[in-house]
Every structure is written in structure tokens, then in C-alpha cells.
Symmetry: C2
Subunit: 134 residues, 2 copies
């Protein structure tokens, strides 16, 4: 499986609008899209910094994955997502080399993408996502 | 100042060789370069995942910035670096909008680059680096 590169960097934030404004002011970011994903407990904004994408994620409540992350560690870098041609095939490859997965099958992520998360245990503490499609 | 995009993603690891092997096995990463920076207390490997760069950082001791990071939070995502045309000019721009800086002047980073760090307080908990040159 060819990994194409970083699809986005996921950042946990306490206040989405303040974070968007900061990325605009400091880094000249442009807002690409916004989406509320109630089932995943996040309100998200994709911003482009130059040619690269930062996904700012505000939890919809404390008892959500991103809410618990912020409660325990504070806001900050949350995950890195890599673009792959086919998430399902990538998951089979990762399983074949013994990588611990959070999602054994693709699910729908933000913006209709196919996504799956690899457990941080498999990647030296980095929550890692694989993404395909659109 | 135009920010060109992500220059690299910095990842704190406990064992550099194990981490390099993991990125190769799971993500098809290729090693771009290695460097020991004793003054910054890291042994580093740059790996390319597709077209993007991950900088794996093993501390040379517990009493180093990356060593303290791992002691308090464990290994994982450490910082994000953005490519800019001119670090010194970028720092003046960041100061002009009130961003708290760690480095008020550029210093030498890995691989001879000009770098400076922006305080996480300024970027919602994300340790942010700006990079130029080569």
C-alpha cells in the first residue's frame, strides 16, 4: 500500500471559533470547510495552512473522545491522518504486520471520507488515522 | 508572510531505531536523514511518508526538552513545523500580532535550517515551529 502523505493533522481545541481566528491571524490559514459530527462528538473546521490541512476539533461535550483528551492533556496535537488509496486494504496490510487497530473496518469520517484509526500503541504513542475517498 | 505548509511533524520517541522501523513497516516510510544535536538533546531521524516529513526525536537524556515531554506525557506528537520564506521576518510578524514566542531570533535547527519556536500558549496548546532555508 502506498501512503501518499499527510492528509491532515488533527488538533483538539477548547473553542473552535477562537482557534480558527488564531490560525488565520498567525498562519494565514483559510477555512476549507466546517462540519458537526454529533456521533463522533466534535464540531470541526478544516483550515488550510499553505497547501496543508489542519483539522481543528472542538468536543461537543466532556464525555467524548476529544473531550476526554482535553480533560486529561489539555488542548493540542491530537492525531495525524495519512492519505491512502484504499482504507480497507490498508487495514488488512496493517493487521498483517501485527498493528493494533481501533477500527477494523472503515467508517465514515468528516466530509464523507472513509477513515479508520490505528491504535497509538502501534505507532509509538501517536494516534494515527488512515483516510481515503471523498 | 506566506506560510507554505507543513515542513515536518515532530514526534517524541523513546527508541529511535524502533520508531524508524515502525514507520517503515506500517507506513512505508523512507529515511531521509539522521542527525544528532547534542545542544538540543535529541537524536533525530527524518522519515518521508509519501511526500511528507516526520521528524522522529529521541532524547539524549531525561533532562532535555523532549526527555521531559516524554516523562510527563509519554511518547507521541510533539510539534508541528511550518515552512516560511524567512524565519526572522515571520517572527516580527508574529510579534506584531501579539503571539508569544519561545525564540525571538532564528537559531540553527536540524540539517542547517533556520528555525524558531512559537509558544504553545499562542497556538492553543500546539508547540509550533517555523522553518526556512537549508
Amino acid at each position: 500500500m502506498e501512503v501518499r502523505g499527510i492528509h491532515h493533522l488533527g488538533v483538539a481545541v477548547a473553542n473552535l471559533e477562537e482557534a480558527v481566528a488564531t490560525y488565520q491571524r498567525l498562519l494565514g490559514a483559510r477555512v476549507e470547510s466546517r462540519e458537526m459530527l454529533t456521533d463522533q462528538g466534535v464540531s470541526a473546521a478544516s483550515v488550510l495552512v499553505g497547501g496543508d490541512r489542519i483539522e481543528l476539533l472542538e468536543p461537543t461535550g466532556d464525555d467524548t473522545p476529544v473531550g476526554r483528551f482535553i480533560s486529561s492533556r489539555g488542548p493540542g496535537l491530537h492525531h495525524v491522518a495519512y492519505a491512502v488509496p484504499d482504507v480497507a486494504a490498508m487495514l488488512r496490510e496493517l493487521e498483517s504486520v501485527g498493528a493494533e487497530l481501533i477500527d477494523t473496518h472503515p467508517r465514515r469520517g468528516l466530509y464523507g471520507l472513509q477513515i479508520a484509526f490505528v491504535h497509538p500503541h502501534a505507532v509509538h504513542g501517536v494516534l494515527t488515522e488512515v483516510v481515503s475517498g471523498g
